[in-house]
Symmetry: C2
Subunit: 201 residues, 2 copies
């Protein structure tokens, strides 16, 4: 093209939008056009919300959840069962469990998984704090809600070894057929695990 038809300010905005997960180079352009049409109702408030959240949202010193207060709203909630700690890989997984309403206790966010191949060891994750929490009088059970992947299971084994020393009960999520799942579409690994872990009807 003879000259760049997109000015530098707009191009920089498009390049930054394109870095977000879910947006590619084309959808970033579409998003930029949308935002320019909604400057006052969306674009400016979004700029403010980004800067505001970047400043205020921090990892909770107790559990690693992201919140603007510390300890976070979940840790500060007295109605939650302090004897139950659910260990998750990431804040997104905490949100997923909260959405399901599946856990009424506290959480602990690791911030990742052990991954020898990527050079991620125990010191790179929020693990020391979990092992310290496990020794607290009130904590009775630690639920490992980690993904059923190689790294997830490596992390679960490592944590089980280090947590059982403190006498706490370590459990993990069950594996099996998803609710509403058709057997025909399930992979062999899940079917084999569901068969092995069969329970009386």
């Amino acid at each position: 093209m003879p000259t760049a038809s997109i000015g530098p300010e707009l191009q920089r905005l498009i390049d930054l939008l394109a870095k977000m997960p879910g947006l590619g180079p084309r959808s970033a352009k579409r998003a930029a056009l949308y935002l320019l049409k909604k400057r006052e109702p969306v674009m400016r408030p979004l700029a403010f919300a980004l800067e505001d959240a970047a400043q205020k949202v921090k990892a909770c010193a107790v559990c690693g959840n992201w919140d603007s207060i510390d300890p976070c709203a979940v840790c500060a909630d007295d109605e939650r069962d302090a004897s139950l700690i659910c260990v998750v890989q990431d804040v997104g997984d905490l949100w997923a469990l909260e959405r399901a309403g599946a856990h009424k206790g506290r959480y602990h966010v690791l911030g990742g998984l052990l991954s020898p191949l990527d050079g991620i060891g125990p010191d790179d994750l929020n693990m020391g704090a979990l092992i310290a929490r496990a020794k607290e009088e009130a904590v009775k059970e630690i639920i490992l809600a980690l993904p059923a992947t190689v790294d997830g299971q490596t992390t679960a084994h490592y944590l089980t070894e280090h947590l059982e020393m403190s006498g706490v009960n370590v459990t993990r999520l069950s594996q099996g057929v998803p609710v509403g799942g058709e057997l025909d579409y399930l992979d062999e690994g899940t079917l084999a695990a569901a068969m092995k872990a069969r329970r009386p009807f």
Copy 2:
């Protein structure tokens, strides 16, 4: 859930991200988590770029293209053919034509299409300026690059009527089989149009 597990600052950021085209409520959460992990390289620069573009990017007084300079870079480029004006619905269509390198002249962005059903009339669009431009000595041809929809064709007919008075040559994009397109997958309307507009080989 017992308490909201997402704080107000974070929730507002997610709600605003979810308004962008291409992002829904879930992908907005994923985007927010990604941004919080990349505060310095992406999140803060994005906040700045949004505010900066909201302030500086304006519609070009000549053609309606969005740029931080006025007249825009396309209008200010002397190497472009001033005798050819390509009329598009939106800035996104201008970018698409520039990507294709299909047009070496100037542009005119209408900012929408005539739509009697939605109550959009000629005065709601950037049409007066186009009719004035058509009367300029230098302008020889106006290419209507409008969508092949009912509203697009309504707008094209309206513009043709008003532009031909000024003696300028009005053309439109050809319709037919897309490059690389299989006949078997084409709709009947396109096939009929391609047959009707057949050309010597």
